[in-house]
Symmetry: C2
Subunit: 244 residues, 2 copies
């Protein structure tokens, strides 16, 4: 890649101007943060693995008709994506109690939820990504009601698909975070899936041992962090041949 303009550097990725208008290059770093960036570190090789894993999941979702920003992988750490206007809402889908749900509501980690829960958090690091309800989102115009309906529908479909995909490789999909964005087409826009889906943004537990195979190993200093990410890529069949 020649010199490119950097658009944004986040906690885990860098966005560069893409080769054509309306495209971006998403570069995956090894940087890891937790607890609203109070804890910082590196996970060796994470960027390479997340690039591959996210590519795999986004491509799979496209096959069931979920529109995504993913265009193609460019190299080990980069993928070409469609530029969107990010909806400033983190969409959290939960099948099993863990993390902030367990802490906030006093529900033991690992408890199967009687129903899948979707939570929305306002994406704002300064405020610590506070949880909000549909009504706050409508009130402050962060997304329209139609957009929120589309987002909720897609989140459910993505959860159904990913539950199946991970159960097929012996992994329990505890919860995960999604981001969506507006893809403009003249005066109109539609909502598509953006950002990434990886062990950074999912809680993934081995079904037999309950071993955590995700960023909680970093958050909780459980060790073998890079190995957990590798294990996910391996089970997804992404480490067998480097098909570049």
């Amino acid at each position: 890649m020649s010199r490119r303009r950097q658009i944004y550097e986040g906690k885990a990725k860098i966005l560069y101007e893409g080769p054509e208008p309306g495209t971006l290059v998403q570069y995956f770093k090894d940087d890891a943060t937790a607890f609203n960036a109070q804890k910082k570190g590196q996970i060796a090789g994470k960027g390479v693995l997340n690039n591959r894993i996210s590519e795999h999941i986004f491509k799979s979702l496209a096959t069931i008709g979920v529109p995504t920003h993913f265009m193609r992988r460019l190299n080990m750490r980069e993928q070409l994506i469609r530029q969107v206007e990010i909806v400033p809402i983190e969409v959290i889908v939960r099948n099993v109690a863990a993390g902030t749900l367990s802490k906030r509501l006093g529900i033991e980690e690992g408890t199967q939820l009687p129903r899948t829960i979707i939570e929305y958090c306002y994406k704002n690091d300064e405020l610590g990504d506070p949880m909000v309800a549909d009504e706050h989102i409508a009130c402050f115009g962060w997304a329209s009601q139609d957009e929120m309906n589309d987002i909720a529908d897609m989140a459910i479909r993505i959860n159904d698909f990913m539950c199946g995909m991970f159960s097929g490789i012996g992994i329990r999909l505890v919860d995960f975070k999604l981001e969506f964005g507006r893809l403009f087409d003249g005066d109109f826009s539609r909502i598509i899936l953006a950002d990434e889906i990886s062990p950074d943004s999912c809680r993934l537990w081995d079904m037999k041992s309950n071993k955590k195979l995700d960023k909680d190993r970093f958050r909780q200093d459980l060790g073998d962090v890079a190995e957990a990410y590798q294990e996910i890529a391996r089970r997804l069949g992404l480490l067998t041949n480097e098909d570049g």
Copy 2:
């Protein structure tokens, strides 16, 4: 009142067994707490004023057809109420940004909200009454979807009425907290308004001076706390004649 069995002692009120089955006596204390009971104190005469103010508002709401637990006032500090099974959800209605909304979402206190917001918190002191979404409420069975629909509808009607009532006496209804309960009738139950509505549970600002006339004076050590409660009772016409 002769010796009665105490059912529950809370932060601001005591519940006693009522004279007939299905009734309770609600006794209003002068005790005040804030920040999940980390701050404790007394507001002289608060119990008497809140008993009168809550009576007035509940009776007024009954006239527009909002079903409530209120039966009649018994004396200065006590009222007879219908016993309900409390829905463990605090319903917060907000017209103007203040309190936790301002803090959590970084919106300046006093900002008029473009739309009224209803928030739900799980009533659990140990967990600090965490905010929840409709989905948590359904997931954990704290209330049914039908019940939540009834609650939201009533909350809007109560807000409409109270906005009018307070604007009539030069007061801005910033936000307030409601509790609802199930009144059983054989195998069936219906949702009615319970607990209290008073300067303990509302934010009330003088329209001209923006002076706070509610429990924030206690929370924020602004002084003249009892005087603020008196001012509300006075403007509502409740201090002119002691009509028992």
